[in-house]
Every structure is written in structure tokens, then in C-alpha cells.
């Protein structure tokens, strides 16, 4: 069996066997909120094992962050290998943050919240990547904007992004298609992390309220309030 096959973890059937452990290193100064939302969604589809560690490169990580991944452990599951998916979150002094590792032998560490989110979004069923090419690429385009214009952008780029968002959300309830997608999750996360959630224009505001009402957003929402 070639090593890269282990990366082909899409779909419940392929997730059987030894636990697939996704390691995410991330800086405690900016928790990647989209990760917690996606984790909630993954828990609905897979037996997930979440664990949180603090790396020796950082100190004084707030307690809230150390307890941020609920396991949803069922009482009949005792071994890690009883789970289909593990997420090992490590608070660590990394730049750029976060970084994701699955396969120590073959892959290049994945950088950036947007790309970590894409990987988790490919494990979720149906994978966003398996949607039609236009929809999948529209999602990626919003995810790119969340990452490069909002999270990493300057004030001018952020303002421009908000205008695009507001215009889009004036005509649609969600960023892509007729329901919640990866695009909404990553954009929501980026707006919160850059402190823009409060002063958004009306259409964006309505969309944010809709996001806040989603059960999967609750744990992330709690982190923004702590």
C-alpha cells in the first residue's frame, strides 16, 4: 500500500481502521474559530476523539482554550482506536498559524486556517469538493477572500470584502447556494477574529445572526465571548 492512500480519508467507509489523527498546531493568540465549528459538524458524522495539548513553546494558555474540544466520548468507547477520527489540537508558537499534519512521511504541513478548513470540509460528507465545479470553486473563492483579504488583509481590503459580502447577502441568505457551506463558516470565523463582527452592514448582520443560530456554531461563539 502506498503511503498517500492514508490521505484518502473521505467517506465513512474509508475511515474505519486505526484512528486517523489530524494534528493541528495553532497559536493561542488567535484561535481558528472555523475549526471548532467544523469539529462539531464532524462529530455528527463520525466517532471523533478530540484532544488538546499545550506545546512546550508556549506558556500560560487560558484554561478555556485547553478544554475547547469536547470529545462526545461514548461510554462504550475506551480506546483511541475505537474512534474513526481524532483531532489533536496543539497550542503552539507557530507562524503562520495554524498548521496541519496528517502524514508525517509524505505531506508538506498545511498552512493557514482556510486550508485546514478545506481539509476538514473534504472529510465532511458530502465533501464540498465533490459538489459541481462552479459551486465548489465559488466556495473556495469566498474562503480565499476570508483568508487573504479579511484575516491577513489591511483595512482597505477588509472594507472592500465587507462591501462584497454585503452586496452578495443582499440577494442571498448564504454565501453560496441555498444553505450553510464552508464559505460561511470560514468567513464568519475571519470576521470574528479580526474584531469586525460588531460593526457590519445590515445584510451581513442578518447573515451573522443566522450563523449564530446554527447549533454547530455554539462552541465557537462561546470562545469569542470568553
Amino acid at each position: 500500500a502506498s503511503g498517500t492512500a492514508a490521505g484518502a480519508t473521505c467517506g465513512q467507509a474509508q475511515l474505519e481502521g486505526p484512528v486517523r489523527d489530524i494534528v493541528i498546531n495553532t497559536n493561542p493568540s488567535s484561535p481558528p474559530l472555523s475549526l471548532f465549528i467544523l469539529y462539531e459538524l464532524l462529530k455528527q458524522q463520525f466517532r471523533c476523539f478530540g484532544s488538546v495539548h499545550v506545546h512546550s513553546s508556549v506558556e500560560n494558555v487560558p484554561e478555556g482554550l485547553c478544554k475547547c474540544l469536547g470529545n462526545g466520548i461514548r461510554s462504550d468507547l475506551r480506546n483511541r482506536t475505537d474512534f474513526q477520527l481524532a483531532i489533536t489540537l496543539i497550542w503552539k508558537d507557530v507562524k503562520p498559524s495554524p498548521q496541519m499534519m496528517m502524514s508525517a512521511a509524505y505531506q508538506t504541513p498545511i498552512h493557514g486556517e482556510s486550508n485546514v478548513a478545506r481539509y476538514l470540509g473534504r472529510i465532511l460528507q458530502p465533501s464540498y469538493d465533490s459538489l459541481d465545479p462552479v459551486t465548489a470553486t465559488e466556495i473556495d473563492t469566498w474562503v480565499d477572500m476570508a483568508s487573504t483579504q479579511v484575516l491577513l488583509g489591511n483595512n482597505k481590503e477588509r472594507a472592500a470584502s465587507l462591501r462584497s459580502l454585503n452586496s452578495r447577502l443582499g440577494k442571498h441568505d448564504w454565501l453560496v447556494g441555498s444553505g450553510l457551506t464552508l464559505a460561511d463558516i470560514v468567513m464568519w470565523s475571519a470576521l470574528h477574529q479580526t474584531g469586525q463582527a460588531a460593526g457590519v452592514p445590515a445584510n451581513v448582520k442578518r447573515w451573522m445572526v443566522a450563523c449564530n443560530g446554527q447549533p454547530a456554531f455554539q462552541s465557537a461563539l462561546k470562545l469569542t465571548q470568553s
Binding site: T4, A8, C10, N115
Partner: protein, 179 residues
Amino acid sequence: MAATVSINPATPPIGVLLAVEHLKDSVPVQVQEGKNTGLKVNGDVTFTTVPSICRYLARLAPGKQLYGSNSLEATEVDHWLEFSAGRLGCPADFGDAVQYLNQVLGPRTFLIGHAATLADFAVWGALRSNNLWLNQLDRGKAPPHVTRWFRFLEEQPEFKAVAMALPAKPESSRSETRK
């Protein structure tokens, strides 16, 4: 119906042109000159960035595996698309970005797997249009693994085809420096 990509010939999106050339037998795409880079999909949707256009074209021909062969490889492609548009294009980060690329390419012929993907197209395209890089390469100052990878891709058919359509490199960087 053939898709139409418009490009500005003064600042050609090399990564897109490489994808078009690579996929030309399975995805008919016309390239026309225009003011801005863009691919209009329908009345509502136009993709205007190199990563988005590349992604869309690759998804039209999944059998060509330009997006890798599994979820992890696909995400590695995303990682490099973002790298090519981000760190590599930022002059302040350029030196570190090339060193990072060099370290990654030590054990690799291609960035992902054993054939060219969007990752190679996008990163190569970003370097090819970067004068800092062309200058380093010309003076023999570019790190060895990136140099090897860059020159190897340059020899591949789709890269040769695209290079012919590009504005010439600055004169000094065309003569190969050999040790």
C-alpha cells in the same frame, strides 16, 4: 461550449495559462485578450483570481489529477495556491519563502506526488513573473533545489508552450549560467 478566459497580456496569469495548456485536450478553453483576468462561468459567476480559475479548470477534468489524487493532496494543492499568491508575492517575505520552498523540494521532483499539479503551475508561474527570482537565478544565487525544479519544469511541453507566449525575461536572465 468552450469556456473563455480573458487575460491581460501585460501581466499574464501564468498559472492559468499552464492549466489551460495542460488541459487543452479534455477541456476546451479559449484565451482572449482583455483588460482584466477573468473566466465567466454564467450570468452570475465570474472567477477573477488565478487560484479560482485554476481550481475551476482542474475540477472540469478530474481525471487529469491536477488537484492531486486524494483529499490530502488536494489540500496540499490549496496550500501552494495560497503560498504562490501570498508569501511568494510579497517582497518582504520573498527570501524566506524561497528558502522554505528549497527545503520542501529537497526530497521532491514535483511539489506533490510524481507529476505536475496546480501547485507546480501556480508556484512556477509566480516565480517566472517575479524579477527578484529571475535575478537570483541569473546570478546563480538561487537555492539549488528550487533552481533544479524551476529549470526542469521549464523543459516540460506545457511550460515551453506557455513560455513562448510570454513577454521575454529581462535580457540578462536568458543566458544560462552554468558552473
